[in-house]
């Protein structure tokens, strides 16, 4: 049996339990004596709370208590924000609103009852008197000096202003030969929409004085620390378990009010407490993504070389900071030059409070916004100069190489943007498509071909540049029977690392894949780690495990060397054996394991047992890249867009399991295309959420997509020994601009430069009939 596992298409270890309905998501956890929570939420975007009448609710059957913000004040800590940037204004963010509500859906009170239905019934009976205040949802208005202020103690609605500058702006601005385009791009608000909503079970045992929390989270370890701080408990007595998590996309990379309240209530009653978010709550009160206005100035030469990019970003933060809220738009600034060598850059980012739910990390988190900006820039320049967008991109790519430093100061690990572009042009039959387009245009039909050549920042990241640590931990333990247990500090929830981590360890140790079991998500079981987000799990967490496996190998090789009379460095691990390269001297893996545990003849200085831990601190981020081509057809009467073809060539570094990589790319594409064409999460001018159910908030369905044609190039990163860059967000980042570029390309004969997303048919129809696109 060959143990060649890495790079193979291997079926997932996770699946048998999931396809049989035998796994456990948080709502599947049933504990004896469970209490249920239901939250009373504000219907107002901005209002003073005058009074809360909970007497009727308290008298309802099964109701044990009703708590308000005032009841929790001083007894339960505030919701934390980990982003620590200079001059950042951080408003207090209590778990239940105090005196004032600032967004629709903000929790105002909580009902504790012995049944799920009873809790909901009673919550409906809590009456709150509000004195409405003017709501602010418009970013331009929110930053104006006469705007009402959302947090009065902060003076205005601007949470921070961050600047990023590089290159010689004087030269750019004084160069009269340069052309200039000024354009505003709106990157609309989205709902992350994991299929499983949030949920938490908190169980406090008064006897042991321990708190166990099951939460649908991406960050069990960080959550544990924060819940200890919020509840005032000894952190060593708090345990957080991320059970099966039904999707997250960044939305569960957070510490939420309901988690804090559930812990508080469980401690009050000494009983387990459950709260499961309804979809309506999920749309109101789970973080949203994107929501930026980007005002651009693009300076470029007549040959298509872009010389300078200025961008003023207004980032809608929502009413409060959640865990990473203000950090997200700063990633936009960092990645705004994409994969182009543009000599001068200036970005000013204003983070703005509004009467809406907080924005925070949603798949891509700041980088899709950057990629959208720069990829639209390339197409707008091409259009202005009547050049092929391929030509403009080639003109602006840096040459292939390593450690490429751009004007933003970002240093890209490895790059070969020409290679992926070339490959996608071949894959898509680009030249042929252009000929088809020309033919159809003569017939008055609109076919659009859109390109996107993106680079993203992944494998988050060096701790020096992360809000709460960027390292990751891994433990490999060879059990006495020779089976292998892997513990990861990351917390995957669908990405499939139980499989890819087992591949790494089985490959390294030369043991059967089926003999390796991976655990994660339980803070009492696995070593402290950071979590799963930022396309980091395999690149950072997998590397930690890889190193831990190396340590095991080193130890086992020393044991085997004694047995075989060989040097440890001569030995290889394969096919369940430890042997010399030529196979002449060989010992069974299990035999060496026995040596380690029975510890009869250990070489001096070697401790018994086979457990190794490793904490990996990445020296840099990784920078995966890719090139996408989208082909769309537009109904020239109604403006409906039909996605005809999609081609994606992605380079996520070394591929450990191509099936998993494809899955990540496909899912990412669907979300990115969704943003371009259908998705938007909309507040009206009074701060009412208009897309409050899935009847109005569109999530794309199977029949809306074409077949995705995908391919890869593999440019390994030197940042980690696996050569892995990360792939979780690539599809989302690359696809949004490809689609918008395709639609704008289709409409090119009509002379329109830009339409904001989502590209709903009505906006396109308005262009088709000769108008300018209106916001609808």
């Amino acid at each position: 049996m060959s143990s060649k596992l890495l790079g193979e298409r291997i079926k997932r270890k996770e699946d048998p339990r999931l396809i049989q309905g035998r796994s456990h998501y948080v709502d599947d956890i049933q504990l004896c004596g469970m209490l249920y929570l239901a939250f009373v939420r504000s219907p107002h975007a901005h209002a003073e709370i005058k009074a809360i009448h909970s007497e009727a609710a308290q008298k309802m059957p099964g109701v044990l208590a009703v708590y308000t913000g005032a009841d929790l004040e001083g007894r339960l800590g505030l919701i934390p924000c980990a982003a620590g940037m200079e001059g950042l204004k951080v408003p207090p963010h209590p778990c239940l609103a105090l005196r004032r509500v600032r967004y629709v859906g903000e929790p105002v009170a909580v009902v504790v009852a012995s049944g799920r239905y009873q809790a909901v019934d009673a919550a409906a009976q809590v009456e709150v008197d509000y004195e409405p205040l003017p709501a602010i949802t418009d970013l331009d208005k929110a930053v104006s000096s006469d705007s009402p202020v959302i947090h009065e103690s902060l003076g205005d609605n601007i949470a921070f202003v961050a600047k990023l500058e590089g290159g010689d702006w004087k030269a750019v601005e004084s160069d009269a030969s340069l052309k200039v385009i000024r354009q505003r791009l709106v990157n609309q608000r989205l709902a992350p929409l994991s299929m499983e909503t949030r949920g938490v079970v908190a169980s406090y045992s008064p006897g042991e004085d321990t708190l166990t929390v099951w939460s649908s989270t991406q960050i069990p370890h960080l959550l544990k620390t924060q819940l200890a701080v919020m509840t005032g408990m000894d952190e060593a007595r708090v345990r957080v378990i991320a059970p099966e998590v039904g999707g997250a996309f960044g939305s569960k990379l957070n510490v939420y009010a309901e988690e804090g309240v559930a812990c508080f209530v469980s401690r009050q009653f000494g009983k387990p407490v459950k709260w499961i978010e309804s979809r309506r709550e999920n749309l109101m009160a789970t973080i949203h993504g994107r929501d930026q206005i980007d005002d651009l100035e693009i300076y470029f030469r007549p040959d298509g070389k872009v010389m300078g990019l200025k961008c003023h970003i207004l980032a809608n933060l929502g009413a409060y900071h959640q865990l990473l809220t203000p950090a997200i738009p700063t990633l936009t600034a960092l990645m705004i030059l994409g994969c182009y060598n543009i000599p001068a850059v200036f970005v000013e980012t204003k983070g703005v409070f509004t009467n809406t739910m907080s924005t925070d990390a949603y798949r891509g988190a700041g980088r899709p916004e950057a990629t959208y900006i720069i990829e639209r820039v390339m197409d707008m320049v091409a259009r202005e100069l009547n050049l092929d967008p391929v030509e403009v991109r080639l003109k602006n790519f840096p040459p292939p190489g390593k450690d490429i430093v751009l004007a933003t100061g970002v240093s890209y690990d490895t790059a070969n943007y020409q290679k992926t572009l070339k490959k996608v042009l071949t894959l898509s039959g680009y030249k042929k498509l252009r000929r088809e387009q020309a033919r159809l245009r003569k017939k008055g039909k609109y076919l659009g071909i859109g390109l996107s050549t993106y680079v993203e920042i992944c494998a988050m990241g060096p701790s020096s540049r992360m809000p709460a640590g960027g390292w990751e931990s891994g433990t490999v333990r060879v059990e006495p029977t020779g089976k292998v247990t892997v513990l990861s500090g990351t917390s995957p929830h669908g990405q499939g690392e139980e499989t890819s981590f087992a591949q790494i360890v089985a490959e390294e140790l030369g043991v059967p894949y089926d003999d390796v079991t991976v655990y994660h998500g339980d803070t009492n079981q696995v070593p402290m780690g950071i979590g799963t987000f930022g396309s980091r799990t395999t690149a950072v967490g997998g590397t930690a495990i890889y190193h831990a496996a190396q340590r095991i190998k080193k130890k086992m090789a020393r044991l085997a060397a004694v047995k075989l009379g060989a040097k440890p460095s001569e030995l290889v691990f394969r096919d369940g054996k430890i042997e010399t390269e030529d196979g002449s001297k060989s010992v069974k893996f299990g035999e060496v394991v026995g040596e380690a545990y029975f510890a009869k003849q250990l070489p001096p200085g070697l401790a018994p047992g086979l457990v190794e831990n490793y904490v990996f601190e990445p020296p840099n981020y990784t920078y995966p890249f890719g090139a996408h081509v989208a082909v769309v057809e537009i109904d020239n009467e109604t403006g409906e867009v039909n996605l005809r073809n999609y081609f994606a060539v992605d380079d996520c570094g070394r591929i450990l399991n191509p099936m998993l990589v494809d899955g990540q790319i496909h899912g990412g594409l669907a979300q990115g295309i969704g943003q371009a064409l259908w998705e938007e999460h909309v507040y009206d001018e009074n701060g009412q959420l208009l897309t409050g159910t899935l009847m109005d908030c569109a999530a794309p369905r199977a029949h809306q997509f074409c077949w995705f044609e995908t391919a890869n190039t593999e440019t390994r990163t030197p940042v980690n020994p696996l050569g892995v860059k990360g792939v979780g967000e690539a599809g989302t980042i690359g696809s949004t601009p490809a689609i918008v570029n395709a639609v704008m390309d289709a409409l090119r004969p009509l002379g329109v430069r830009h339409i904001d997303m989502p590209l709903k048919p009505e906006k396109i129809w308005q262009v088709l009939r000769g108008g300018s696109p209106q916001v609808v």
């Binding site: 409405p132 959420l689 897309t691 109005d696």
Partner: protein, 160 residues
């Protein structure tokens, strides 16, 4: 949300105005009005069971008449809240003599909040218009009959 329109009624302007100011006829006409109590400050406490078909909610609120200029115009302010959310509205109602009857024109802004706003956006406009229509249909029955034939023979469509 903007709510505006006009309605021709077959009654003299003074009569229409008086009826509009009369809590009894108003209560009869307001869709789902279960209570309309005049308050010392001139406003009304109202309980309205409003909605469309089976989607109905009970709203407690206040109706205020402001800037009354009999028989020409007044402003109306409505605030209410119920399980489905809240509504706030303010508008101007003006009455002009036309074709032997009265033309009522209304124009206002209604703000809906809470559940109804977040699940009902696709029907909101139509629902508002339907309720206004229901109001006028009922209200026209409250008016003392004033030679309707004479009015209709003036070339106008019937008012209901």
């Amino acid at each position: 949300m903007k709510v505006e329109g006009s309605r021709q009624l077959a009654a003299p302007r003074e009569v229409v105005y008086r009826c509009l100011m009369d809590p009894l006829s108003l209560a009869q006409a307001l869709p789902g009005c279960e209570k309309l109590d005049p308050q010392p400050d001139g406003s009304y406490q109202a309980t309205l069971k409003i909605g469309i078909a089976s989607i109905k909610g009970t709203y407690q609120g206040r109706v205020q008449i402001l800037d009354a200029l009999p028989p020409e115009s007044f402003r109306m302010k409505i605030e209410g809240k119920g399980a489905g959310g809240f509504l706030k509205g303010e508008g101007t109602i003006s009455l002009t003599v036309q074709n032997g009857g009265t033309l009522i024109s209304y124009s206002g802004e209604v703000q809906i909040g809470g559940m109804i706003a977040s699940v009902g956006q696709r029907m909101m406009q139509a629902a508002a218009q339907q309720m206004v229509q229901q109001f006028f249909d009922a209200f026209s029955h409250q008016l003392p009959a004033v030679q309707p034939d004479a009015v209709n023979s003036g070339g106008l469509p019937p008012s209901t």
